[in-house]
Amino acid sequence: MRLKALFVVTLMLAGLIASAPVVLAQSDCTKIVPPSPWGPNDQTGATNRVTPAVTKAAAAEIKDGKVVVMSYPLTDGVPLFGTRFTKTILTATSLAPGAAFGENQLTYMEDTWLSQSHVGTHLDGLGHIGRKDCYFNQIAMGKFINQNNMTKLGLEHLKSFATRGVLIDMVKVYQAAGKLKTNAACKKPCLDKGTVITKADLEAGLKMYNVTLREADIVIIHTGWGNLFEQFPAQNAVYNSGAPGIGKEAANWLVSQKIVAVGTDTWVVEVIPGEDPKEAFIVHNILITDAGIHIIENVRTDLMAAEADQTKRATFFFSMTVPKAVGLTGNFVAIEGIR
């Protein structure tokens, strides 16, 4: 009898153990992602570099107050990837006859914006890209997500981007080197997709305008590929089919320069197809996951490139605000280069 009871209890315990929630094994992120140079609790990454002194020094770039637009319009028809979408719905009910308020006949309109965050000119936050379940600063992200957002590495942790912007005109570099192979769909000269921008290319571009990168800069690379974005929707498929961009060597060099962000007029910043077909978006890992350096995609660079060409000056005050969107992995942004 006692044995039988023991058997039943054992069976019940076994059943309980079997029905317990499955706890997934997590990676040891200390072996997969390097620690942040700003300490174990850091969720801010490279914007830690934007100190008051950095912003003040960047303000010296404003000579005559000229503002150069550096973002594309976000509207129906622009290139979006895969199933991504962005859609607005206008609420204008108070325009209906008799719907105005008060003697002053107040009317109003509002929008509902249904959109994914990584659309148009947008910033990749630190929670966007990881290696396995490990994200910037060795954060095991599986423990910090819920149905709606992340509870670590959200955009709310970022500091200011008010720093110096440096434009590198890769089209001019390739033209000067006699190696520009443009894409037939580009109406202005562009680097073709799959073109690997190297460290030497970046250095040549900096030398062209006599610039040395300094800590906390934001590097903006003009490839000309953005001309396809400007032709939306006609060239969306070509635009999305690949991109010129930085390779691993260039990305590692940019990390060593301690910059805050790198942006290009492509959807991806890095070269696609990548250098190694077995690697996926490896430059994203190098910059975001390992170094906390942001990527800014679909940056409008042609106007600043023209400005730099005209004035022989490739630096500017980088003006970009990012909403304190709690727990978001990225967001669309508006950028202005002020000179």
Binding site: A57, G194, N210, N240, W267, D276, F281, E297
Partner: protein, 352 residues
């Protein structure tokens, strides 16, 4: 303009020490590195390499897989970005005369190395002779050029991988149930080495099911025949489970359709050969082999990587150009691609 302040000057003593170390290192470098300095100089040189592709005829598939010559060519164009090589592309058009004309042109151009991809051994002998006479080293793909290093697929190993996967599936899921094995495809296509592939598949199928009866269904190169051939077999074996080793991905998908039409999806498991874009794709394409389709009866396909030939062959070419010894035969590392590893092996880039 750059407003960066110059870095602070190091202390004089420290500077002297650093200069001394740098000078000593520079003087000792050749001794420490042996031939390193010579290699570094050699690496800086640019080479001209010819690649004569089997055929780039639109839609023409290669080696009994779904890959086209265009995909092979693109893989070379992408892989060469890593190397100090200028590629000259030729199309052999699967034509001996054209292949001979190509090599003649390459000799005139004085290329440093010639990569020959032609499935005609007799012509390859002549091409080898022409290249040797011109002092140009050849490198062959899939069909040998005498005395040239060969990069080649291993059809038997690929077939065996598929058979073993099916055998394991059958042993795990259908032990004790009546099960038959099927090898289906263009089984007599010697030019594509399909008989080797089929033999490997049969060997693999018996790995864990030694008593398995295997039926060969020859489509004679017409994948549309898969449906009819399988339908007859399924009707004749109404209670049997079926392990299907398809000799290419098109036949694998056709086999799935045949099982579906017969209402026998639960009775089949299929493995294809090739892993071309008809069975896998980007994260939004939802092809047959996809992480979101783990329940598919197409449990996988064996990769032939023709779309990565450039990445496989150019490193061998580079070693030859640097005067290093390379193996006489380098074989494709075939791998079974399933829903569980397809995005690792073929990372999609339709997201960012």
């Amino acid at each position: 303009m750059d407003g960066a302040a110059p870095p602070p000057a190091p202390r004089e003593g420290r500077r002297r020490c650093l200069v001394g170390i740098a000078l000593a290192g520079w003087l000792l470098l050749p001794w420490l590195a042996g031939g390193g300095a010579v290699v570094a100089v050699a690496q800086d040189r640019r080479y001209t390499v010819a690649f004569a592709n089997l055929t780039e005829e639109p839609g023409a598939t290669l080696e009994g897989t779904g890959f086209t010559g265009r995909e092979v060519r693109e893989s070379f164009a992408l892989a060469v970005r890593r190397y100090p090589i200028d590629l000259v592309f030729y199309d052999n058009h699967r034509d001996p005369q054209k292949a001979l004309a190509n090599v003649e042109d390459a000799v005139k151009r004085k290329v440093d190395l010639y990569i020959q991809y032609l499935d005609d051994p007799a012509t390859n002998v002549k091409i080898g002779q022409s290249l040797r006479a011109a002092g140009i080293r050849p490198l062959a793909i899939n069909t040998p050029v005498p005395d040239a290093p060969l990069y080649t697929m291993d059809n038997r190993a690929a077939g065996r991988l598929a058979g073993e996967a099916l055998s394991e599936y059958g042993a795990k899921n259908w032990r004790g149930l009546p099960t038959i094995g099927v090898v289906v495809g263009n089984l007599r296509a010697q030019e594509y080495r399909i008989p080797d592939r089929a033999q490997g598949a049969s060997e693999g199928l018996k790995r864990q099911l030694p008593a398995l009866k295997i039926t060969a269904l020859d489509t004679q190169g017409n994948p549309a025949q898969v449906g009819a051939l399988l339908a007859r077999m399924l009707t004749a074996n109404p209670a049997a489970k079926v392990l299907i080793a398809a000799m290419d991905d098109t036949s694998a998908l056709a086999a799935k359709s045949a099982l579906e039409s017969a209402g026998r999806l639960a009775d089949g498991a299929i493995v294809g050969q090739g892993v071309d874009r008809s069975v896998h794709g980007g994260m939004n394409e939802r092809k047959e082999i996809d992480p979101s389709n783990r329940g598919s009866i197409v449990i996988g396909s064996v990769a032939f990587y023709l779309d990565r030939y450039g990445y496989e062959v150019l490193p061998i070419a580079m070693r030859m150009l640097r005067g290093e010894t390379v193996p006489a035969r380098t074989v494709t590392a075939h791998r079974l691609i399933t829903a569980a590893n397809v995005f690792i092996e073929y990372p999609p880039y339709d997201m960012n």
